[in-house]
């Protein structure tokens, strides 16, 4: 079991009742600290009752024994959960300064990542395949300077996590406790994140996912990070709340630019219109932080003349196989080989419906 200070233990104890954040804040202010709240519980009883009600106060009193707090911490330790609470030295400084900092961050994985420089990459679930590839590239590139913070949703978040995992520095912020995995298809990814990076949640392990947890989780993503890159967002996307929080906290917000009519990018363009910076190269982001990432010399896989011709024909936008055929002057049914080879060489991405784009 990790060692906690009295103040930390008291904070974890206070968090174990599932109280609203405002009530926890009021209790903290009432007692002038977490440990004083526990130590002077009887003296403060009246004030506590006013905040949480008599029933809840009685429940808190019952659990307020040395044995009760120890078993709580042991239970968390057994689940492999480390509690980084507000009084903890590990608690990220940036997160302290948001208006509603979480009391406890339940952590699984390498908690030292909380002390590194962090940058968030978020995206919606509906993200185009070519954008997913770009997101992976950006995440891998930025992971050389930052720890990448993201959610665990499908689509953009998953791509960001995968890209960052290749380098190893990733923090996933979950909108539910560690007893659950959502979406279920990302169970493997979560396991990898815990193994090589860090998973964080403000919810106690037994708390399941609720729709209002998502915007609350997004504020933590924004609060943890120095900046946020939005890779995709529809007109009414949840990634919007991450960007808005980040902007409110004074973080730099970046967004991928999109073509007119791409539904998965409407929100990104709206962000750029309002306050976000356009990012279409990694350097757009690193320059804002005064970081100079020397481009790792990428090994250029050799291309055959046919592959070269096809790659040129794919062009900048998504192209249909017949268009590629016409441009490259190769019959469409003979394109299978160069197109598949180019995908294997990570030069292009299949976007479904026999369409391809550079990626």
């Amino acid at each position: 079991m990790p060692s906690y200070t009295k103040e930390e233990k008291a904070a974890v104890w206070l968090d174990s009742f599932g109280l609203d954040l405002t009530k926890k804040q009021k209790l903290y202010r009432l007692a002038g600290g977490f440990y004083p709240l526990a130590a002077r519980f009887h003296a403060l009883r009246k004030g506590i009752e006013e905040i949480v009600g008599a029933e809840r106060a009685a429940e808190m009193e019952r659990s307020l024994t040395a044995q009760g707090v120890r078993s709580l911490l042991e239970e968390y330790a057994q689940k492999g959960v480390t509690c980084v609470s507000y009084p903890s030295a590990l608690y990220p400084e940036a997160l302290r300064h948001i208006p509603d900092p979480p009391l406890v961050l339940y952590c699984k994985g390498d908690t030292s990542l909380l002390g590194t420089r962090k940058f968030a990459i978020v995206g919606s679930r509906r993200t185009r395949p070519q954008t997913l590839k770009q997101t992976e590239k950006f995440a891998a590139g930025l992971a050389r300077a930052f720890t990448i913070v993201t959610g665990l949703a499908e689509g953009g978040d998953t791509a960001a996590a995968l890209g960052a995992l290749a380098v190893g520095k990733v923090i996933c912020v979950l909108p539910y406790g560690f007893d659950y995995v959502y979406p279920a298809c990302n169970a493997d990814l979560l396991a990898k994140v815990v193994q090589k990076g860090l998973a964080v949640s403000e919810y106690r392990p037994q708390e399941t996912v609720r729709n209002y947890h998502f915007p609350a989780r997004n504020r933590i993503i924004a609060g943890l990070s120095e900046g946020v890159l939005v890779v995709s967002a529809g007109a009414k996307s949840g990634t919007r709340t991450t960007a808005d929080s980040a902007f409110a906290y004074g973080r730099d917000v970046f967004a991928f630019p999109y073509d007119i009519g791409v539904t998965s990018g409407v929100g990104c363009n709206a962000l750029i219109k309002e306050y976000a910076k356009l990012a279409d190269e990694i350097v757009d982001i690193t320059a804002a932080f005064g970081i100079n990432l020397t481009e790792a010399a990428e090994e250029e896989p050799p291309l055959t003349p046919a592959e070269r011709a096809v790659l040129d024909a794919v062009g900048e936008e998504t192209a249909h196989i017949e268009e590629i055929a016409a441009r490259a002057g190769i019959p469409a049914h003979e394109l299978a080989v160069p197109l598949t080879m180019l995908q294997m060489k990570k030069k292009i991405v299949a976007c479904g419906g026999n369409r391809y784009s550079k990626g």
Partner: protein, 510 residues
């Protein structure tokens, strides 16, 4: 007085001889039919009575007992009418009993005495011939299919009186002339031709490869992309059926009663059951006598499942075993019947629930979870049996392709036949292996050795494209077919890569 005439009953695809015994006794006028007849057989009384009267004969005003032996075999259908009528005539002395000796009678009677065609004549004739019968009287409407059976004299009568006149020697019918299959096959015309399909070069190429190695095919594309049109072209691309194949198909279609005028099926069947079809409708079955299902009707041809995820899960899963074995054994309390079911499966589906995934002009509104759920409706084991998965798309390329001449089915078929010939030679003496798709582990080892280069590229494609591991042998089989189409002895890396491109569905979505 007692008479005995012979008819045949259908059990699955086989005919069983049935002795129709008729006895006339004194007593109150009545008619008793025994021998486990079903409703259609029992109702023959009214048809026979009227048919006799309207053919200028008498139905005896005495007690008539008809026994269909063997008595424990269930009798279904209407083809005993003629035998019962002839039996009554013989028993009442209106027809010399010896005239009926050595004959088999099949056919349904109309009230006016005309003979109506019945289902299943072809398999009944084949069984009658095998049982040593030399002469059969059948309805004139079944002459088309009957003409393809050699070595048995078939007399096609259009009415009961014509049959009686033939038996009594008053106006003998000539035996049916034997039809030539070659003439029929030459006259066949496919309704759908690949030259009608504009563009779709990728899908067409995939179709050619699929037919060459008789690989099963999955077409993925938005609504209106032309998936059905492409699928309908498959029979025309397949090599022409041999007489034996055609006879097998005709037999099944005859039993199912869907045989057309031409008598023998010359075009490879194309069956496309609706997605509401039950497992029994697809696999065959029935409560008493077992009828062939869609997979047997598609024998030697194509079974097309349009919008595959919409089919009942149980119906789809039931396809797995026949896809492996080429036959289906339907077991009922009355016994088990085996029907051939060696078909090429062609399925189509939308890429996602809304159908627009990957479309340029219409945005897809499905979440990744919804897409995954939709695709998961086709189980892994079934998907495993579909070697080629290819995307069909709905682009209007009129301006791109209007000048280009599209290849005809015949041109593609010529290449397919060449590739099939290579396979026939290769698999000479290998039991149960006719095409590349049939290859097992042993054949893969013997005929598909991979060079180091090929293995490297295959490993790379698994790594980079996130293919599932079970796709490996499928890819090698398809690569073998591509090499055969190219007329090459060994598999080259290009063949492997093309085969990999036909596994769009295997790739894990990020």
């Amino acid at each position: 007085m007692l008479s005995k005439v012979t008819s045949f009953a259908l059990a699955g695809l086989e005919g069983v001889p049935v002795e129709v015994e008729t006895d006339i006794q004194s007593g109150l006028p009545g008619y008793e039919l025994v021998g486990l007849p079903d409703a259609a057989v029992r109702e023959s009384r009214e048809r026979v009575r009227s048919a006799l009267k309207n053919s200028g004969k008498n139905f005896p005003a005495r007690k008539v007992t008809v026994n269909l032996a063997p008595a424990d075999l269930r009798k279904e259908g209407s083809y005993f009418d003629l035998a019962i009528a002839v039996g009554i005539l013989a028993a009442t002395g209106q027809l010399e009993p010896t005239y009926t000796a050595g004959y088999v009678f099949l056919g349904e009677l109309a009230l006016d005495g005309a003979l109506r065609p019945v289902a299943g004549i072809l398999p009944l004739l084949i069984s009658a011939k095998a049982a040593g019968y030399k002469k059969v009287v059948i309805p004139a409407g079944n002459a088309g299919e009957a003409a393809y059976i050699e070595g048995i004299d078939t007399y096609a009568a259009s009415s009961l009186s014509q049959a009686i006149d033939h038996l009594s020697g008053f106006a003998p019918l000539p035996p049916l002339p034997v039809a030539r299959y070659g003439a029929a096959i030459a006259a066949r015309q496919e309704k759908f031709d690949l030259s009608f399909v504009k563009g779709q070069a990728v899908a067409k190429r995939a179709l050619e490869v699929a037919v060459s190695g008789s690989h099963n095919l999955l077409l993925v594309g938005p609504p209106g992309a032309g998936k059905t049109m492409l699928a309908r072209c498959i029979p025309g691309v397949m090599p022409a059926m041999t007489f034996e194949e055609a006879l097998e198909v005709t037999k099944i279609h005859s039993v199912a009663g869907i045989l057309g005028e031409e008598g023998i099926v010359t075009s490879r069947p194309f069956r496309s059951p609706h997605h509401t079809a039950t497992t029994v409708a697809i696999c065959g079955g029935g409560s008493r006598t077992v009828k062939p299902g869609e997979i047997s009707l598609a024998h030697n041809g194509v079974l097309f499942l349009d919008e595959m995820p919409e089919y009942h899960r149980s119906a789809l899963e039931a396809l797995r075993q026949p896809l492996e074995d080429g036959v289906i054994t339907v077991t009922r309390s009355g016994g088990a019947v085996t029907f051939p079911a060696n078909f090429m499966l062609c399925a189509s589906m939308n890429p996602c629930p809304c159908g627009n995934y990957g479309s340029a002009d219409r945005p897809c509104t499905c979440s990744p979870a919804a897409i995954r759920k939709y695709r998961a409706r086709i189980s892994g084991p079934l998907l495993d049996r579909i070697d080629i998965q290819v995307e069909v798309d709905s682009v209007k390329y009129d301006d791109l392709v209007s000048t280009r001449a599209e290849e005809s089915s015949a041109a593609v078929r010529a290449r397919v036949e060449k590739a099939r010939a290579v396979q026939r030679e290769r698999f000479e003496g290998r039991e149960g292996v006719l095409t590349n798709a049939d290859m097992g582990e042993r054949e893969l080892r013997d005929f598909c050795p991979l060079s180091r280069e090929c293995s490297d590229i295959l490993r790379l494609s698994f790594e980079r494209l996130h293919l599932s591991a079970r796709a490996r042998s499928r890819i090698i089989k398809v690569a073998r077919t591509i090499a055969d189409l190219a007329g090459e002895e060994s598999i080259s890396p290009a063949h492997i890569v093309e085969a990999v491109s036909y596994r769009t569905f295997d790739r894990e979505q990020v």
